[in-house]
């Protein structure tokens, strides 16, 4: 294996669109980064924020949720619920100093193998550039003081 850092990304793929998009990417022999490890859920709406936190805590460097395009959800509007939760959770993760690129929401229909593959490639590169997620230092912080210092820095950077 090469020396470069290989991030591990957990992907929650909905059964009807994105999981099938990944199937199609495979069937079409589209080569893409092997860094995303897929977990099937019936609907992206099933992705409990706890799953995302669990994955990040357990050692994933990033989490991708992939679902049907808005308006195309096989369960009518589960993906809209996902979208709402995604933004809430993203704000929370940001407060903890976890970079936006580490948590991404992707829409990929069953016919969009290439869209999913490209999203995985893009995210892999972004997370690789960020380096490993050190949950211990980032979120728990030294002596359990949390990530306050980091958040403050982050917000200063944003405002500046």
């Amino acid at each position: 294996m090469s020396e470069q850092f290989e991030p591990v990304i957990v992907g929650f793929l909905c059964n009807w669109c994105s999981y099938r998009a990944a199937d199609l990417a495979g069937t079409s022999r589209i080569h893409y980064a092997p860094n995303m490890r897929p977990i099937r859920v019936m609907c992206s709406g099933r992705v409990d924020p706890q799953f995302v936190l669990k994955a990040l805590r357990e050692g994933a460097d990033g989490v991708m949720i992939a679902g049907c395009h808005p308006g195309e959800c096989h369960y009518v509007e589960g993906n809209i619920k996902t979208l709402r939760r995604y933004h809430l959770l993203k704000n929370l993760l940001r407060q903890w100093g976890i970079e936006d690129e580490r948590f991404q929401l992707v829409w990929a229909s069953a016919s969009e193998g290439i869209v999913l593959a490209e999203a995985v490639n893009r995210m892999t590169e972004q997370v690789r550039a960020l380096g490993p997620l050190d949950w211990k230092d980032t979120v728990i912080g030294i002596n359990g003081r949390g990530s306050f210092s980091k958040v403050e820095t982050a917000s200063l950077v944003e405002e500046g």
Binding site: M1, E6, V8, V10, W16, Y19, R20, A22, D23, L24, A25, G26, T27, R29, I30, H31, Y32, P34, R37, P38, I39, R40, V41, M42, C43, G45, R46, V47, D48, P49, Q50, F51, K54, A55, R57, E58, G59, A60, C68, H69, G71, E72, C73, H74, Y75, V76, E77, G78, K81, R85, A110, S111, A117, W135, K136, I140
Partner: protein
């Protein structure tokens, strides 16, 4: 409790084994906790591969099975069946997708093997937490609702009715027949559309097993597969169907005419009390309230005065009726709309009189249409000496619809033929991007047209204008087009232009899809369960789709889908009871705080709230198993069977087996 897991790694010939070191994965899997046996095999889906699983369950007493092979969409059913044969509950099985999601996506053996291990470990950790599940039995009501009385709906209704099952056919217009009733000839055989359609319509009207509800719309749908309750609004016709004989004297005597924008596509007129066309089924007319002088000013009543029936059939007091019907399945065949060509102003429709839409032309060439089949310009008398037919108006165009509308090539060829037939001296230009004739007899028809002398110009029309540059162009419509075969810009002066507009989803298809709780795509066409292998089912069990509401299609394809949907429904009815996947949510009443967050989230209204006990409950048969409520329950009182928190959390642990930092995880 410790489980005995059997892990099977498939080579899939060389499809997996070429990139993933399967023997290594198998050996490694055998060393994992609770794994009783791990094997690799050339083709796990073969009968020999399945027997491996069955034998191991019996001989080694396996309590869980993991197969690492292709996508579960390919072979999950196969391996579940193998588990059952071995005597294991099918839900104590899990699949790891190391082909589509792994070996086919990379050449890097190291990375592919590592990913395969992660996927296998995820499946092992998950399957340990599986519970045996039993399919849910549901009784099927043998009545079926068909929505839409076009050719797809007619064919579905007749198939079912002929099989002995009762059908309610709901149609929004006063008559069934749909777009096909408007057509003159059908390609490529040039059968007269009415000649082949009207007998079917009559069959529907007379069939003892069909309750025909025209001038009616579905208002509300409740229930689930096998047990739907549907409210249908039967709009007031102001004609009492009990007494009306369909003699048509009221229509004759009605003193007022209006432009018929529906059936005659704006090219003809109809009376205010009317039947859309003479062969309409049912034969009863309907009063157009908006234009009726009696409804506007309280005077006239000519129809009532001349109605010969006893008692009088005209009933100005008639009200809408709401009918409640019980059905087991619903087939949606709601058809299509045509793209509004005035959205492309450079083609001049509405501004240049002699630019027509295909539907206008269709009515014009129809012997029972407003010109009695004569091809004439907008003045309704001059025959054109030259006609240009513009293909792909709004289709295959990124500005409007990217998809191909499927039928326009063929009907444009048909138009050319009909013009040659009626006006042998007239020149016809077909301006196309590509000619698409992929069905039986279609290509032959195309060749026939080339022999008949139609000019084919390969190029997308840029502009239709009346601004002449030469004397030859004076008084003509000039079609500006790049002929890409000779690489030249051309200006073709013609008398008449026919636009072939895109087939669009119905304007209200999104609302309809919500009403029936199933999906539609970006373009508004209803989404099938699987584009290839399950084209008439939807994601909602008991709701099927047929015809152009699923995507542009021609008559034979619509008939096929109608019959296919009927066959599916017939199969369910004859079984009487069906087993539904037990992947459903359930609420632990003791843990439920009664917050009702889940009630609003459920897209199927499957969660009800018990006011007395202050707890919510999932109606199992209504639940489709998406799990959105499970993720949202703040008390973790909802369990999503086969996708429980335990199962997914363990899967996450497994998938990160090589990078895990368990010391950071509380609990």
């Amino acid at each position: 409790m410790s489980e005995k897991v059997g892990v099977y790694i498939c080579h899939c010939g060389s499809n997996i084994a070429k990139t993933v070191r399967v023997e290594e994965v198998s050996k490694w899997a055998g060393e994992q906790d609770q794994v009783a046996v791990a094997r690799d095999y050339k083709f796990m889906c073969s009968s020999l591969g399945q027997e491996l699983i069955e034998d191991d369950i019996k001989e080694k007493g396996l309590t869980r099975v993991v197969v690492a092979s292709c996508s579960p969409h390919m072979h999950e059913k196969t391996f579940r069946a193998a588990c059952v044969k071995g005597g294991l509950n099918p839900f104590l099985f899990e699949m790891a997708n190391i082909r589509e999601h792994d070996s086919w996506t990379t050449d890097d053996t190291e990375a592919a093997t590592q990913k395969a291990k992660a996927l296998v470990m995820a499946a092992i950790d998950r399957v340990i937490h599986h519970s045996p599940l039993e399919p849910i039995p549901v009784d099927i009501n043998s009545n079926t609702l068909v929505v839409g009385g076009g050719i797809a709906g007619i064919s579905a209704a007749l198939e079912l009715a002929d099989a002995g099952y009762h059908v309610y056919l709901v149609e929004r217009e006063p008559s069934i027949g749909g777009h096909m009733a408007q057509l003159d000839k059908t390609f490529p055989t040039l059968d007269c559309s009415a000649c082949i359609l009207t007998p079917k319509m009559v069959d529907v009207g007379q069939h003892p097993n069909i309750t025909l509800l025209t001038w009616s719309e579905v208002e509300k749908v409740d229930g689930y597969l096998g047990n739907f309750t549907v409210n249908v609004r039967k709009k007031a016709r102001y004609v009492d169907e009990r007494y009306c004989t369909g003699c048509g004297i009221c229509i004759e005597k009605c003193p007022f005419k209006v432009v018929d924008n529906v059936f005659e596509a704006g090219l003809g007129v109809r009376k205010v009390i009317y039947r859309p066309f003479p062969q309409a089924v049912p034969k009863y007319p309907v009063i157009d309230v908006e234009n009726c002088v009696y409804f506007k000013r309280g005077k006239c009543k000519a129809c009532q005065i001349f109605c010969p029936t006893e008692p009088n059939s005209i009933d100005f007091e008639q009200q809408d009726e709401i009918l409640q019907i019980q059905v087991g399945n619903i087939i949606l065949a709601t058809g299509f709309d045509l793209f509004d060509v005035s959205q492309i102003p450079q083609y001049g429709y509405g501004r240049l009189a002699n630019v027509f839409t295909s539907l206008e032309f269709e009515r014009m060439v129809n012997a029972s249409g407003p010109t009695e089949g004569k091809v004439v310009l907008r003045d309704m008398q001059t025959p054109p000496k030259s006609v240009a037919i513009v293909h792909c108006v709004g289709s295959r165009d990124k500005n409007y619809h990217e998809y191909c509308s499927n039928v326009c090539c063929m009907y444009s060829l048909k138009f050319a033929h009909l013009i040659h037939e009626r006006l042998p001296e007239t020149e016809v230009f077909n301006c196309y991007i590509d000619i698409r004739t992929p069905s039986k007899g279609y290509e032959e028809f195309y060749h026939r047209l080339m022999d008949e002398g139609t000019h084919f110009i390969r190029g997308k029309v840029a502009d239709v204008t009346d601004a002449a540059r030469t004397t030859e162009e004076e008084g003509k419509l000039i079609v500006q087009v790049e002929d890409t075969l000779i690489n030249k810009q051309r200006r073709i002066p013609v008398d008449m232009v026919i636009l072939s507009p895109a087939i669009e989803a119905r304007q209200d298809s999104r609302e309809v899809s919500q009403q029936f709780r199933m999906g539609c795509d970006f373009d508004g066409f209803f989404t099938e369960r699987h584009p290839k292998l399950d084209p008439v089912a939807t994601m909602t069990e008991g709701i099927l789709i047929a015809g152009a509401c699923q995507g542009p299609k021609d008559v034979p394809a619509s008939v096929t889908q109608g019959a296919a949907a009927a066959a599916r429904v017939g199969g369910l009815i004859s079984r009487g009871t069906v087993m539904m996947e037990p992947i459903r949510a359930s609420i632990d009443a003791d843990a439920c705080s009664g917050c009702r967050i889940c009630n609003e989230l459920c897209p199927y209204n499957a969660i009800i709230f018990h006011e007395d006990k202050k707890v919510s409950e999932v109606i199992t048969a209504l639940c489709q198993g998406c799990g959105t409520c499970v993720a949202a329950c703040p008390s973790a009182a909802i369990t999503g069977a086969h996708f429980t928190n335990d199962q997914v959390m363990s899967e996450i642990e497994g998938i990160l087996w090589d990078v895990r930092k368990p010391e950071l995880v509380p609990g």
